[in-house]
């Protein structure tokens, strides 16, 4: 079985976290993954309602200062190992909001990011590819 198929059969439980300072486009494209065209549920990937059950954290947003405690708290709550996947230019390096007084540091200064999926927003295909690749590292 290829590495990709192995990762896909792991039925990853994914929690979506918006780290503030987001235009929500990435968040919407993540939700789009559930819908008929992309339908990640057929791969067994499920968007869960609580971080406690998450194998992977999909994080969007440029990290608004007010949201930092929540970001840390959510990560704290996840069962380890939990892969942190940064989705979109903002989660990668604060994107177009870099340098704003309202932002903290880029996400990877707060959480151990395992995978970066670039784009503004990334296409759903890119997100799937990134998630699969990240899960492949779980071994």
């Amino acid at each position: 079985m290829s590495l990709t198929l192995k990762a896909l059969t792991k039925s990853p439980w994914v929690y979506h976290l918006c780290a503030g300072g987001s235009c929500n486009n990435c968040d919407i494209e993540i939700l789009d993954l559930l819908c008929p065209r992309f339908d990640v549920e057929r791969f067994g990937a499920i968007l869960v309602g609580s971080p406690r059950h998450a194998d992977a954290l999909l994080v969007t947003g440029a990290v608004n200062r007010k949201s930092i405690p929540r970001v840390l708290e959510v990560y704290e709550q996840t069962a380890k190992p939990c892969l942190v996947i940064a989705v979109g230019s903002c989660a990668l390096g604060q994107g177009i909001f870099r340098g704003s007084y309202a932002m903290g540091e880029p996400l990877d200064k707060y959480l151990p990011v395992a995978m970066y999926i670039p784009g503004c927003p990334p296409k759903p295909e890119a997100m799937i590819a990134g998630i699969v690749k990240a899960l492949g590292t779980l071994g």
């Binding site: 608004n64 200062r65 007010k66 340098g99 704003s100 007084y101 309202a102």
Partner: protein, 154 residues
């Protein structure tokens, strides 16, 4: 046609209007003193049924001013009312929020970002400020000290 509406409004406001600037037929700017502004706002919103669109505050070399934008949806016109705060050190304008709900949030935002006071506001608490902003950090002020106490990078 909008010129007529603007002219009517300016005539009715009478001596409250200290200056008029017509940029074009859809954009008219008037200056009003702080003590006349609440009555002006209520007149425009209540009597003239204008829609308060938003206010933009800024600090110029002359001091603090807020431009309040009123949309006349039936006349394809925006009437912007400029009000200049008298005190440069502790800028303050009378609150309209107690009379018109639509002013509540923007006055809090101006308080957060420019450090302007709005005496009479029912609840002038932070709207956008994060807890860790230094007390004297007002992002839209000219004298720019960043949220960490150092010179802002933008």
């Amino acid at each position: 046609m909008n010129q007529t509406v603007a002219d009517e409004v300016i005539a009715e406001l009478g001596s409250k209007v200290k200056n008029v600037f017509v940029h074009n037929r859809r954009r008219v700017y008037i200056d009003v003193d702080p003590e006349d502004f609440v009555d002006t706002a209520v007149y425009l919103w209540k009597d003239r049924h204008a829609r308060f669109a938003i206010a933009s505050g800024l600090e110029t070399t002359a001091g603090f001013e807020v431009v309040y934008h009123f949309a006349f949806d039936r006349n394809d016109m925006i009437l912007s009312v400029r009000v200049k705060a008298r005190d440069k050190e502790r800028p303050s304008l009378p609150s309209v929020a107690g009379r018109i709900k639509a002013f509540a949030f923007i006055e809090r935002e101006l308080h957060d970002l420019l450090g302007m006071d709005f005496p009479g506001h029912p609840d002038l608490i932070p709207l956008l400020r994060a807890e860790d902003w230094p007390e004297d950090f007002y992002p839209l002020r000219r004298t720019n000290v960043g949220p960490d106490g150092k010179e802002s990078s933008t």
